[in-house]
Symmetry: C2
Subunit: 200 residues, 2 copies
């Protein structure tokens, strides 16, 4: 028997080595040849570890998701000066922030691809992303319920919050919308004092 490489590990390595490439050029503008070069392997080798180009992109996006998750977790757990409300705002604004501008743009492209070719793999990947975020949202909301910032049943609003957020991502990309303002209004309505849209 020859060496058996850890496929999962190698996938990650390939993804890591072309993360920058993707951020810089976008999904549509990178080629598999470029990816192979950046990873210092032959193009054929790529296909030993990924079924197709989309899979590579997913793997890289997963890296971004993990990074954002870490960012969020730190903000939520190590920052007890923040109220639940502030944490929620931070949570919802993060992807729209300047710091994640490039990642946002890639995610947008991902949505675009997924919308017109929703293969089982794509769907599974997206559901996976959701779940990661819902876990964090749940933590925030539970904290809010504990210290009476939120009503018990706020936990049931998680999917609705996610739909809102997805819709906002779309509209910030396509429409003429200010994410910060919309999120502010939304959070106000969630936290009781419904002044949503007051200053539109």
């Amino acid at each position: 028997m020859a060496i058996i490489v850890d496929k999962e590990e190698k996938r990650r390595l390939i993804a890591l080595s072309c993360k920058g490439l993707l951020l810089e050029n976008g999904i549509k503008n990178i080629t598999v040849a470029q990816i192979a070069k950046a990873a210092n392997i032959g193009k054929g080798t790529i296909y030993e570890y990924f079924a197709n180009k989309d899979e590579i992109v997913f793997e890289i996006i997963m890296l971004f998701v993990e990074q954002i998750q870490d960012d969020l977790l730190i903000a939520i757990n190590n920052n007890n000066t923040l109220s639940c409300r502030e944490k929620m705002e931070y949570f919802m604004m993060l992807v729209f922030s300047e710091a994640y501008k490039k990642e946002f743009s890639i995610y947008k492209e991902f949505l675009s691809i997924a919308l017109c070719s929703a293969t089982p793999d794509t769907v599974a990947f997206r559901v996976n992303c959701h779940n990661s975020f819902e876990v964090i949202l749940e933590t925030i909301i539970n904290q809010g319920i504990e210290n009476d910032e939120l009503h018990q049943n706020a936990i049931a609003m998680i999917p609705m919050i996610r739909y809102f957020h997805t819709g906002l991502i779309v509209d910030v990309s396509i429409g003429r919308v200010n994410a910060h303002m919309e999120i502010g209004s939304f959070i106000n309505s969630i936290f009781g004092n419904i002044i949503y849209g007051e200053n539109r």
Copy 2:
């Protein structure tokens, strides 16, 4: 002098003649060659009227969506026996209904194109879609306020409702989500008895 064709008219004609093709296969699975064949013109001629493939699809979509908007308005007005709550549910569900399957699919394709090429045209068009949506929603909500089904400030929730709806369109397309159930829960939460997600 040679003949001068009405470019705008011809664009429409080309778009119309490959409407079925788009509905049947989706943008990703049709080729420009196919479009040309369906329109009974040469491939090169296509590019006399459109800058690229996306533009063709966009033209088709514009034709479609205009019609959908009219339909929606009529559908809402023809159902005056319904309560505000029922109207709202009806309105939000409409695009997810079996009857609007094709239209839903087209709108999905539009979102896909717009997400990765937000030209002034696409943005303007989408803003236009928003406005139509909001106008209809406003009518429904005003009725609800009049007959005490809804609180005054419900009108301020219109943008939020729209984001929710857009997010739902995306998630129904890419995720594993039941539109009817989510809309039911959402409407419950809007109309006061927050049992959102009760039976998820």
